[in-house]
Each structure stands twice: as C-alpha cells, then as structure tokens.
C-alpha cells in the first residue's frame, strides 16, 4: 500500500479526502442555497422573515455527522442549514419558502417552520428558547420507550437568557435524558451582543452549573465541530444523559432581511469573514491536493444545479387550495397517530 507522508494508508486517506469534500459540499449547498434565497427574497418569491445561516454552516454540517438517521433534530427559525444538512430534500425546502403545496409543510410553515416527519425534523421554532423543553420531552419519550436515540437541539446565545433555557437544562439533567444541546453562539441576539445579554458570557458554564457535561468548540471549523459532536453524541447515546456543546461562531449577514446592522462594526464582520468555514476547509483540501480545479468546478456546478432544480420545482408546485385553509388546525379523523 502506498503511504503518504502522514503515514495513513491510502484507502483511509481517500476516505478522509472524500469525507472532507463531502463536508465542503454540504456547507457549500447551504451557503449557495441561502444566497439564492436572499435573491429570491428581493424578487419577492420568498417572503416573511428570512434568517440566514451564512457563516455558521460548519455547525449544522459538523454536528449532523455525528447523528444517526433515527435521531431527532429540533431547530430554530434559522434552520435552513440544519434542514439541508439533515437531508430534507432541497426542493421541498425551497417550495416551502415559496409557500407552495409541494413544500415540506405545504406552504404553511415558510422559512421559520421547516418540518419533516420521516426524518424526525421537529422544526423550525420561531419562539426563542421554545424548542428546548420540547427537545427534552422528545428525549424523555425515547428514554421511557427504551429507544437508543439522540435528540439534538439547536439554539442561539440569546436563547440562553430566556428562563425556559434554564428550565429545560434542569429537567434534562434531573431526568438524565439523551439530548444534545447545541448552542450556536454567534455572539449576537439580533442586535444585542453577548455581553449585553449575559452577565456571565461563558455559556458552557451554565451547563456546568446543572451538572451537564459540556464542551466549547470553534464553530468556524467544521472538523473541530464534527470531532466534538462525535464525542458529545457518544456520551449522550451510551451514557443516556444530556450534553451541552457550545459552538463559537458568527453570522456574516444581517439577522434577518430587515436588519440595518447598526449594532456592529463592518470591520468586525470582515474579520470574521476571513474565518469563513467554507474557505478554511477548501484551503485545507486544496493544500492536500485532494481537489482539482475541475473537481471544484464540478462540485460547484452540482450544487448550482441542485438549487436550480429546487427553484424549478418550487416554481411549478401548486398553491394549496384556499378551501383547505382550515385544514390541520385539528387532526383529520382517521389520520391520528
């Protein structure tokens, strides 16, 4: 077997290279998808609130690597990244943003409320902090039913100031349920910097206080996130108890499409942009010589055509009939659970 300088057998190297390229691809999908969403927003194809994940892609992509197909995800209103990385088909996500019947929620949810039953993607909660107790409850159900599954709950630094955050952490710790709390600490809650939200800006210490195992990781480094997530999920799954993973990150774009960004300096944004998780991984891969220009172009094209296909799909989807407005307020007889 040919050896490389690092001493890894080729098959592993090629596994590694393929894996890294896959991570790159996932992050790129999210970035490009969202850039397109921003355009479509300007074109009034997408409406409502649109919160982009730009800059934070390493977290969703990194964390998902550690999850298994029958695990569950609970996310926020900034959840395109999680939805795509978790495998919800891009076209149904896009159709949802269009408000079409072919969307993953028949156009009723929109950007902030993506759901997928088969894949156990539990939204899409637009009440800051609202998803945390729900995630604890999902994990509780798993524990009660003896299912070896993990529930992964994403939320922001701002959410950690809500009382519900504390209630949820306390319950998770008391009940020792298999939930992974992933705090996407992008250092701002809308326009409120961390230091104005938290008297103690060290968020992982909050978990510590509840006796919840925790770690803090560079959220701009997908490999670091992935490694940390693997460790974390292992603990959750094997020891059946909660874990708190704080990922330090930054949102490159505005909070939503309405945010004039008065609250931070352009220079700060620029500094963080230099730490773009996609560029960083791209450079790593390039340095290793694992991705030729052709391959990179091809990858880009694949992503672009997936997006184009998603848009084409969304465009052709029908609108939910107005007569169906009041469906799904209550379950339909026979539908049940």
């Amino acid at each position: 077997m040919k050896k490389k300088s690092g001493g890894k057998p080729e098959s592993i190297q090629s596994d590694t290279s393929q894996h890294l390229i896959e991570l790159l691809r996932q992050m790129l999908r999210i970035r490009r998808f969202e850039d397109k969403c921003a355009e479509l927003y300007s074109a009034a194809k997408i409406r409502g609130f649109l919160h982009l994940y730009n800059g934070e892609e390493a977290i969703a992509v990194g964390v998902m690597q550690a999850m298994q197909p029958d695990d569950a995800i609970v996310a926020t209103y900034r959840e395109h990244g999680q939805a795509l990385a978790w495998g919800i088909p891009m076209k149904t996500v896009m159709a949802e943003m269009y408000g079409k019947q072919g969307g993953c929620c028949r156009g009723r949810g929109g950007s902030m409320h993506l759901f997928d039953k088969e894949r156990r993607f539990y939204g899409g909660n637009a009440i800051v902090g609202g998803g945390l107790p729900l995630a604890v409850g999902l994990a509780l159900a798993d524990k009660k039913l003896g299912r070896n599954r993990v529930t992964c709950c994403f939320f922001g630094d701002g959410a950690a100031a809500e009382g519900e955050f504390h209630e949820a952490l306390n319950l998770a710790a008391l009940w020792q349920v298999p939930v992974l709390f992933v705090c996407e600490n992008n250092q701002y809650a809308m326009g409120t910097a961390l230091k104005y939200s938290h008297s103690n800006p060290n968020l992982a210490e909050k978990a510590d206080n509840y006796g919840i195992a925790n770690a803090t990781v560079d959220g701009m480094d997908v490999l670091a996130v992935e490694a940390a997530a693997h460790k974390a999920v292992d603990i959750v799954r094997t020891e059946v108890k909660p874990f708190f993973l704080e990922c330090i990150t930054y949102r490159f774009r505005a909070h939503s499409m309405f945010d004039p960004e008065f609250y931070r300096e352009k220079a700060e944004v620029e500094q963080w942009r230099e730490r773009c998780p996609i560029n960083t991984l791209f450079k790593t891969i390039q340095e290793k010589g694992w991705l030729s220009d052709t391959e990179w172009n091809q990858l880009n094209q694949e992503v672009d055509s997936e997006i184009a296909a998603a848009i084409a799909y969304a465009e052709t989807c029908l609108w939910e009939p107005v007569e169906d407005l009041t469906r799904f307020v209550y379950s339909e007889r026979g539908a049940g659970v």
Binding site: Y122, G137, L171
Partner: protein, 336 residues
C-alpha cells in the same frame, strides 16, 4: 353468574376520586400514558387527586417536576411528539400563564405549521375557579379565555361521569386537550356506574329540560343553574339547563335547539365578563338564533375584579343563584 355491564352496582365516589379513577384507568390501559407536574407524586397532588398513584405506578409514570410550568409543559409536548401520551398537570390555571407560550405558540400551532405532519396528543389538566378565598392570584377562571385558541380543545367536566370519563376521551384525541377541573367540585360526591361508558366531548348536554328559558352553563356554575331552575320551577317557570361540557369547540346546535324552544337564554360563567366565553355564546346566538329570541340574551359572569380575599366580597364577585333567579324572572315577566 352473569355480571353484565348493565347490572354492575353503581359506585359512590367524589369528583376527586373520579378523576383519580380516570387517571388510574388510563395508566393501566396504555403504557404510553404518564402523569407529570408539580407535586403529583410524593405530595399526592396539590388537591389530593393523584394520591397513591406514585406508589401504584412508580416514578416513571407519576413524575414530580420542579417548579417550571413552561419547561414541563414544553417537555410534555415533546414527549407527545415522541410517541408518549403525557398528562401534564398544571396545578392551577393561575400558574398556567407561565406556560401560555408553550400552549399557544407550540402545542396549538404545531399541526398547522407543520402542514399536518405532526399532531400533539397532549392532555393538560388544571384546577380552576374561585370561591375558596384564595385572592387575586389564585382564583382565576380562565378556561373561557383559553377557548379562544384554535388548535386546542377545552373541556370542563362538571359531573362525576364527565370527570371520570373525559380524560380517556381526551387521551384518545390526537390533538392537545385542556381539561379544567373546578377545585370546588373535588369534594362533590355521588354515584356513578361502575363501568363508565365513553364520554362524548363533542356535544353539550341538556341536564334539565324546560320550556321557558335556557340556562347555559358549565363546570361548577352548572349546579348554580340547576339550583336556580329548581326554585324557578316552584314559581312555575321551567328552565332548561345546558351543560356546555366543552368550551372549544362549542356545540352551537344544542344551544340553538333549546333557544328555538324557550326563546330566552341566560349564560352563567365564572370568568370575567368582558371577552368571556359567555360573550362568544351570546354573539353566536345573535348570529344564528336572533329571530328566535323574545328578549335579549343575558350574561351572569364574575365581576371584573381581581378576586378579593374576603369571603363576602368574593361571593359578591361570583355568579349567584339568586341573581340567576332574579334575571330569569325579569326576562319572563318583563319586570323585576
């Protein structure tokens, strides 16, 4: 020996015991059912409802929670989504305000915003009502207020049969159901069938037939309406008394049928008057029964005050039998 259902001896119990029996039955019938809330276990329930259940079913089925109404209600939603059939007990409706966000923004919206993907088979029980001198923060009757929210159902069992039977019906419902138990009723006692039949939560019930006026009520007020009807009967006025049973969705049909017969209606409601469920009922009668009315529909509600502690003030704030009688007489005879 033939011990058929029909022949089973009725059993004598209190409303509290009826709820407890309902819980016990549910816990026995379905492994996915569990009860959680503050002091439901070791304490035996703030009102003694779940006394003994921890010992009988263990701490996995009867879960004491810390004080965190939003947290454990949210956890109940999650557990329901995860395949369980949680019964969340919020000690009283007064504290449910801390869980209002989870109830309205998550439990009630989840099915719709997921485009029909995820229903939330959650039951939330709470004590409700005034009349025990518990003052301004412990005496709310907010069941009518909660009935404003689409996506949930609101049940208000008044009778022993309903207290016994509604829980199971609620648990079989695929969507979130709130059950309000007026805490004054817990000590009410009587006989019910030992083999309770399933309780229908879709229909209001005529608890007393009459021809001259329709008294519309629910929960503890039902008994005030029945008492008033007795007295009125002695004076030759026959009141029909309706127990709404479910505040959301309202069963308009039963109400309208009765009013088509009596041409007069009084609603008795322990909630604050403005924006009460009785306002909704009056508005519906306006819309669908206007031409049946001989006189305007009237409402007898709680006074619009945070409940005072002193007994005489509290009683003055709550609907009273005498007021019902007086109101009906005025409506029927045209003068006080």
């Amino acid at each position: 020996m033939n011990t058929s259902i029909q022949e089973a001896q009725p059993i004598h119990l209190t409303y509290r015991e009826a709820v407890r029996e309902a819980l016990r039955e549910a816990l026995r019938k379905d492994d996915r059912v569990f009860l959680m809330g503050e002091d439901v276990g070791r304490y035996g329930g703030a009102f003694g409802v779940s006394k003994g259940l921890l010992q009988e079913f263990g701490s996995d089925r009867i879960m004491d929670t810390p004080l965190c109404e939003s947290g454990f209600t949210g956890a109940g939603i999650g557990a329901a989504l995860g395949g369980m059939r949680p019964i969340v007990e919020v000690m009283t409706v007064n504290f449910s305000l801390l869980a209002a966000d989870q109830i309205l923004n998550t439990a009630a919206t989840y099915l719709h915003m997921s485009g029909g993907l995820f229903n939330v088979p959650l039951v939330i029980r709470m004590g409700t009502g005034g009349g025990k001198q518990l003052a301004a923060q412990h005496s709310h009757s907010l069941e009518g207020w909660y009935a404003h929210i689409p996506g949930i159902k609101v049940l208000t069992p008044a009778t022993l049969e309903d207290a016994r039977g509604m829980l199971w019906t609620a648990l079989e419902d695929p969507d979130p159901v709130l059950i309000f138990e007026n805490t004054l009723l817990y000590t009410m006692e009587g006989d019910i069938s030992a083999n309770p039949e399933p309780v229908d939560i879709d229909r209001a019930k005529v608890r007393r037939a009459g021809t001259d006026v329709t008294l519309i009520s629910y929960s503890a007020s039902l008994f005030k309406a029945l008492d008033a009807a007795e007295t009125l009967a002695q004076e030759g006025i026959e009141a029909e008394v309706i127990d709404l049973r479910t505040l959301r969705p309202l069963d308009d049909e039963t109400l309208l049928t009765s009013i088509a017969k009596t041409h007069r209606a009084v609603i008795i409601d322990e909630g604050w008057r403005s924006g009460s469920i009785s306002a909704e009922i009056s508005a519906r009668i306006m819309e669908k029964g206007f031409y049946d009315l001989d006189v305007p529909v009237e409402r007898i509600c709680a006074a619009e005050v945070p409940m005072p502690y002193a007994n005489h003030l509290e009683q003055a704030a709550l609907p009273q039998v005498a007021t019902i009688i007086q109101t009906v007489k005025r409506m029927v005879t045209g003068h006080d």
